[in-house]
Amino acid sequence: MKLKKVLALCLASVMVFSLAACGGTAEAVSETAEESAQSTEAEDTTAEETQEEAEEVKAEASDAAGEVPTYTQLDISKYSDVEASIKFLHHKTDRAEDGTMDKMVAQFNSEFPNIKVEMEAVTDYAEDSLLRLSTGDWGDVMFIPAVDKSDLADYFMPLDTLDNLSQQLNFVDQWEYEGQCYGIPYMANAQGVLYNKAVFKDAGIDKLPTTPSEFLDDLKLIKDNTDAIPLYTNYAAGWTMGAWDAYIGIVTNGDNTYMNQKFVHTASPFTDPGDDTGIYNLYRILYDAVANGLIEDDYTTTDWEGCKGMLNRGEIGTMVLGSWAFAQMQEAGDTPENVGYMPFPMTVGGKQYVAAGGDYNYCINVKASEENKLASLIFIKWMVEKSDWCFNEGGYTVVKGGKNPDMYAAFDGCEVTSDQPAKAGEETYLNDMNAESELSFNAGGNDKVQRIVEAAANGSEKLDDIYADWTEKWNAAQEELGISVDF
């Protein structure tokens, strides 16, 4: 009996112990993986060196350049006989499923038959890619996940200098560090608002709204005159709420240095400027829309896949999402002509501003072999300039002077600009502030926007209380990190 009891206790405690350990194990394992990757790095480099030597011999024989050229130097038409096998890690699971990726690679292979491209689409890219990155063994080409700019050179190969690249391409400064660019966006997004043209017409709206107050009035009209949901929040998906952060800066105050330079130095970014602009009035739209019942009935069970068809069919009036969503909304139903895209309803100094910026950026593994680096660069250059992927996705053109899809017609007369990079030496400030304050603007801080919806629906908090709390966290983070408060 005694023995049995002891056994049972042992069993129970071991089970309990392993249960509790579960929480930490995943994190810890990835860390040890990273460490082991670091220790094998040394071996890798020696292996690489011998490989390089072998390559040099080959290069001399074939009379090709031994070093990988920069992006702007590279003339891809001269390299059609390059032989390599590269791996491309990306997040476009939908495009992998519908065959778009395979079609593009097939097209690529018709020009570069000897570069074999293996692709892997990752569903939870933002998280998984970081874990893969820390192992160092993820392939040759990927989309840059959320890393600190100062770490870029440890992981990725510099593609070209900013000065050279920015003459040919737009939005290349997102992953610039000390003059070198480590990434090139595969497409660019403009930040506006999705709407259904038929719903707007039925509601009696003949002019697109240009201020938050007009927008709220229009939502009210949609509610009164149609059966459509005026503003669909997509609360349950989470990241769709974080999408509201994209309007901070250029859209809310017309200043393209705000997001990456001034924001972290601002003492109270969330005060009401009093003229229907600013971050204050950005989230006020959401708060007031929820408080006045201008959103879906039960926000906790919204369905991201389902909402695409609903917007297309006219069951939803508006959704606040980047332009990348436009193509998906059009594909989701029988009335793609009704899906419209408009600039964000906020007017600063008599002008509407549109923030445009690169989406995920291609990058090349710094640990890849020289020939794979060359092949990867050829692949990236072809994807950016020849594949039309950006145009087909409804993206704002990455190549300077490239054509834009028709959906941006409503953006005529608006000032389209992109966020300037952070000042030298302050590249990591925004990431640091986001992590320390846990507000995570434009970095997965979905719960803070969800909180606005909850507060407005339950009446548990006033908008001013939320802003006061954010300001407190923001200031505490500034103090903790020693970031000067200049504005």
């Binding site: 509790a20 350990a21 194990t25 394992v29 820390s134 039960d298 906790t300 069970t301 997965g444």
Partner: protein, 309 residues
Amino acid sequence: MTKNVSVNNKRTFGEWLRSRDGQKVLVMFAFLILPMVLLMVFTYIPFAEMVRYSFYNMKYVGARKFVGLKNYIKVFSRKDCFGALKLSLYYMGGSVVQLTLALYLATILSFKVKGGNLFKGFMFFPFLINGIAIGFIFKFFYTRGFVFDTVLQWCGFELDNLPYWLKDRSINNISLVGTSVWRYFGQNMVLFIGAIMSVDGELYEAAMLDGANRFQQFKYIILPSIKTIFVLNVILSISGSLSAFEPPYVITDGANGTGTYFVVMHEIAHTQQKVGLASAMAVVLLIIIFIVTILQKLFFKYIFRNNEQ
């Protein structure tokens, strides 16, 4: 062994290895080495690493800074970290319901019941489904006007009188607990049935001859006999409720006041990338679970003290 050595200390190591004693030790190590290595590599070393991380201010990538006990102080001072444990009370309440239901059904099913095996199968079935899949099932189950509301309307409820199962903050945690009760009670029940089966059938006959009714049989024969399994189930359920994760993570993403300790920990570790703080939270939770388990052990020792004599 020491006696052996003293008696015959001229034996070389090779001889000793070939002897009966040596073979015994050799076989013991050979059998033990594999599980020990697995246990070390996949449980204790990562765990030790995690404890070490809890003293650092660090992200997954980039530099680390030693901060001492600062992370632990934060765990206790932050509202969202320690406060999230309050939600565990819902899950503990749910585990009481779950165990009662499981014990009740197990007792019934362990006597002769028509279609007993069929019922057992049906009730055990949810445990076989993947937790993520269960999350998605219940997401639609609770959606306004979907499955649950429809079923209740068949029963005569008006849709307007029904609450929003996941939106209404006063009941959304109960809705979530419901899913985990649904999932786990079948498993508890099967464990209980197994234990009850081992009770000698003659005891029931003897008890009936003495005039004991079903409830008295349960109280004086079944319950004391399945004590060990019962205590184990309670401990597992309580520590399970402290570390509830899947239902809130999949169904509500921890939003709207449903973020349990684990969900908050996940958020801090992966979105905010404060790996040190999250590791500290994990260590604190482990300690809490230890304490709770020991308390439960003492409690049951007190409850069952009469049976010992």
